[in-house]
């Protein structure tokens, strides 16, 4: 184990996988000479060279489309979209190609492809650069959508994503890059895709979260503990495939749940998770499931207004108090 930031964990995963497998390469805007706009691929260009760390034009369609083509030839491209907001430019390739080709051609096409993108607000980048549209991408069967909430998971999940033969959208929350945690140094440390994980145990209320909201949920759980409420925090880690087993197991004990996401509530992750709770554990429901999410506005630039719109630790805390009727 080593203590490192999520940025280092992701960088380490990429580095190790590139060392391990020649067919892994990176392509994206400013990944090479610049070292990545979030400095995740710093030093890669010098070490692996321009053929394996490919700077692309600012052309997301070419990045994702090109990566799909390369993946079809058996390579394992890691395509970086600077932010998920630019994924909309490449939406056709993510949705109509990456998510469909394997199925549509009855298994003939394989896409061992990873698309990395940062998501989330809170950095005063304005409405177009601050979205958390993760749920949109989780809508499509055929695509895997992964978003870690801890440095260890970031490493283990990214390595699994790179080794996966399926197309994976790997969403990193940019405000988590500085979060530190213990990360296994094993070069074959893998976390399974499509598996949720209990990040904190408790019997009074289940808080379901992923990505940045995992960190927020853990803080809220500490606050709740002060009030004598023990929260269980379940980290979804993957939005598709969505693993409800730990959520349902937890809910059957606590009978109460809060689902926290940074994106908007309407048609969001919380909507999906709470619907499944009602479907799978209706007889265990003791209080309506609460959803904590972003205020339904395009995120404003002003820092105070932006924070007002984004879900906070306190929101999770209060929602949990509400569902336990505390």
């Amino acid at each position: 184990m080593a203590r490192m930031t999520m940025r280092e964990a992701i960088s380490r995963a990429l580095w190790e996988e590139m060392e391990r497998d020649e067919s892994v390469f990176i392509m994206g805007e400013e990944v090479g000479v610049w070292g990545g706009t979030y400095a995740v691929t710093k030093g890669f260009y010098d070490h692996f060279g321009p053929d394996r760390v490919k700077d692309t034009p600012i052309a997301e369609t070419a990045i994702v489309g090109g990566a799909i083509g390369a993946a079809l030839t058996g390579l394992r491209p890691v395509a970086e979209l600077m932010t998920i907001n630019f994924a909309f430019v490449a939406m056709d390739h993510i949705v109509n190609e990456a998510a469909k080709l394997h199925y549509m051609f009855a298994g003939q096409f394989k896409l061992p492809l990873v698309i990395r993108a940062t998501s989330g607000g809170g950095r005063q980048l304005g409405a177009t650069h601050s979205q958390t549209p993760d749920a949109i991408f989780a809508h499509f069967p055929g695509l895997k959508v992964v978003s870690p909430g801890t440095p260890a998971d970031a490493k283990g999940l990214l390595k699994s994503a790179i080794r996966s033969d399926d197309p994976v959208l790997f969403i990193e929350n940019a405000t988590l890059y500085q979060v530190k945690g213990e990360v296994p140094e094993d070069k074959d440390y893998l976390e399974p895709l499509g598996k949720s994980k209990v990040q904190r145990e408790g019997d009074d209320v289940t808080i379901v979260a992923y990505s940045k909201m995992v960190q927020a949920a853990l803080q809220a759980a500490d606050m709740l503990a002060e009030d004598g409420i023990e929260a269980e925090v379940v980290d979804l880690r993957s939005l598709r495939p969505l693993d409800m087993d730990p959520v349902i197991a937890s809910f059957k004990r606590t009978n109460r749940a809060v689902v926290a996401e940074e994106g908007w509530r309407s048609f969001g992750v919380g909507s999906e998770v709470s619907a499944r709770i009602y479907e799978l554990a209706f007889d265990y429901v003791d209080a309506p499931v609460k959803r904590v999410a972003q205020a339904e506005v395009p995120l404003p630039y002003n820092a105070d207004l932006e924070q007002l719109a984004l879900p906070q630790v306190e929101d999770i805390y209060l929602a949990a108090k509400e569902v336990v009727y505390g």
Binding site: E226, G228, N255, V285, D286, A287, P288, K321, Y325
Partner: protein, 436 residues
């Protein structure tokens, strides 16, 4: 320019008041801030001050009349001004009321307030709004889990009191109900009334005559309200002893840092602790609304009983859960002072949602208080005492304090009240929590 004086709203829960006495007679000069009338609410008697200067031109209400909030009660006119009946009429109708004994302009007021309510609700979370206000089929609001347990254990849900939002029966209510079924009969052993020591009669030779003393307005109000409470509110009582060692030490540490005037009392800690515990048990921070509804207050406003000449008043720490203890202490001290000096302000005594009576300073070991209506419960706090306790099998000296909760059985039940007392222990026995 003639101005209307209306029945003031003296607290968030005040709907009407009784005009007890006119202080300014018609024709009296009125300065801004002069007391013009005394009003009695279900909480206390308070004075109405004039916001205008001029002459008390006309009383629109008579002494003893019950009047809804905002009903015009008087006209104050400029010196020498003589407004006609028509002018007064139009003033009043402009204020949305009717002159004279318009006892219940409710029919006109209600729709307006309904409208407002729905506006407010439109802003609130839609999830809350969508929940129908009527109980679901079967007449009992309950969670799916509660229904499953009830059906497993053969419990008739209509026998169970719900503690969730809008009285929803949840798992813990069923469990409490099952527990109470198991321990039926135990309640009888409670209610052991302490026997008062009879004074030793002795003769001085001169036996004074009976005296009939006029009750002050305050006394009358206390008398009426306590009788109402004790007769109409089915009380039950729970006593618990709290370890207060840590609290006393903390108070000592804190006071060492504070100037004399700012020092905090044990009671200030208790106010804060109760307020925080009430946040977790909103059903005790409540009142009976009507035959089928309980109002759970959004604010936690703690009433603190203060002995004053000829009776007691309850001063109110508004939003006590939100305030630091030091501020609570200062507020209570200032309000109690005003109460004792007869200078209490309306806002000092209005709007309490739960009350505390502390007789610890008199060395009382244990007592039960009568609920301050229309609240759902009151906490009677006794003295902090060092006493022999057994800890880890050893006899030690421990700091202890007893408190008794009197609760309205229409609103809550033993188990819930007991849980509240237990949560209160968390705060009192580990007072660090009060600062988190």
């Amino acid at each position: 320019m003639a101005e209307l004086v209306t029945m003031p709203k003296l607290g968030f829960d005040m709907a009407e008041g009784t005009l007890v006495r006119w202080v300014k007679a018609e024709g009296d000069t009125v300065e801004k801030g002069d007391v013009i009338a005394e009003i009695e609410t279900d909480k206390a008697t308070v004075e109405v001050e004039s916001s205008f200067a001029g002459v008390m031109f006309k009383h629109l209400a008579e002494e003893g009349e019950d009047l809804p909030v905002n009903t015009p009660i008087a006209v104050v006119a400029d010196e020498g001004e003589k407004p006609s009946e028509d002018e007064i009429e139009s003033l009043v109708s402009a204020a949305g009321g009717k002159t004279k004994k318009a006892k219940a302009p409710k029919a006109e007021k209600e729709p307006e307030s309904e409208e407002k309510k729905s506006e407010v609700e439109a802003d609130a979370a839609p999830a809350e709004k969508d929940e129908p206000d009527v109980a679901p089929a079967g007449g009992v609001r309950s969670s799916p889990l509660a229904r499953r347990i009830a059906s497993d254990k053969d419990v008739d849900l209509s026998d169970v009191q719900g503690s969730g939002p809008r009285g929803r029966i949840v798992k813990k209510d069923i469990e409490a109900y099952l527990d109470s079924m198991r321990s039926e009969g135990r309640e009888e052993e409670a209610e052991a009334v302490g026997r008062a020591l009879q004074p030793i009669a002795f003769s001085t030779g001169e036996i004074p005559e009976d005296q009939v003393v006029a009750m002050s307005r305050l006394r009358q109000a206390i008398s009426r309200r306590m009788q109402d409470s004790n007769q109409n509110f089915p009380h039950f009582y729970l006593t618990r002893e709290y370890k207060t060692g840590a609290l006393m030490q903390m108070r000592k540490d804190i006071n060492a840092l504070l100037p004399e005037a700012d020092k905090v009392s044990v009671n200030d800690f208790i106010i804060k602790a109760v307020a925080l515990a009430l946040r977790q048990y909103p059903n005790l921070n409540a009142r009976i609304e009507d035959d089928s509804h309980i109002r759970r207050f959004g604010q936690v406003n703690i009433g603190v009983a203060v002995a004053v000449e000829g009776g007691l008043m309850t001063v109110v720490v508004e939003n006590a859960d939100q305030k630091p203890i030091r501020l609570i202490g200062r507020e209570v001290r200032e309000m109690a002072e005003r109460a004792r000096e007869g200078k209490v302000r309306n806002e000092d005594i209005m709007g309490s949602t739960f009350s505390i009576s502390n007789l610890g300073m008199f060395g009382i070991d244990e007592f039960a208080a009568i609920i301050n209506p229309p609240e759902a419960a009151i906490l009677a706090v006794s003295a902090v005492q060092d006493k022999p306790v057994v800890e880890d099998g050893e006899l030690k000296v421990g700091s202890r304090m007893k408190a008794t909760l009197s609760a309205d059985h229409r609103v809550t039940d033993g188990a819930e009240a007991a849980e509240f007392m237990q949560v209160l222990a968390n705060y009192l026995e580990e007072p660090m929590r009060l600062f988190l």
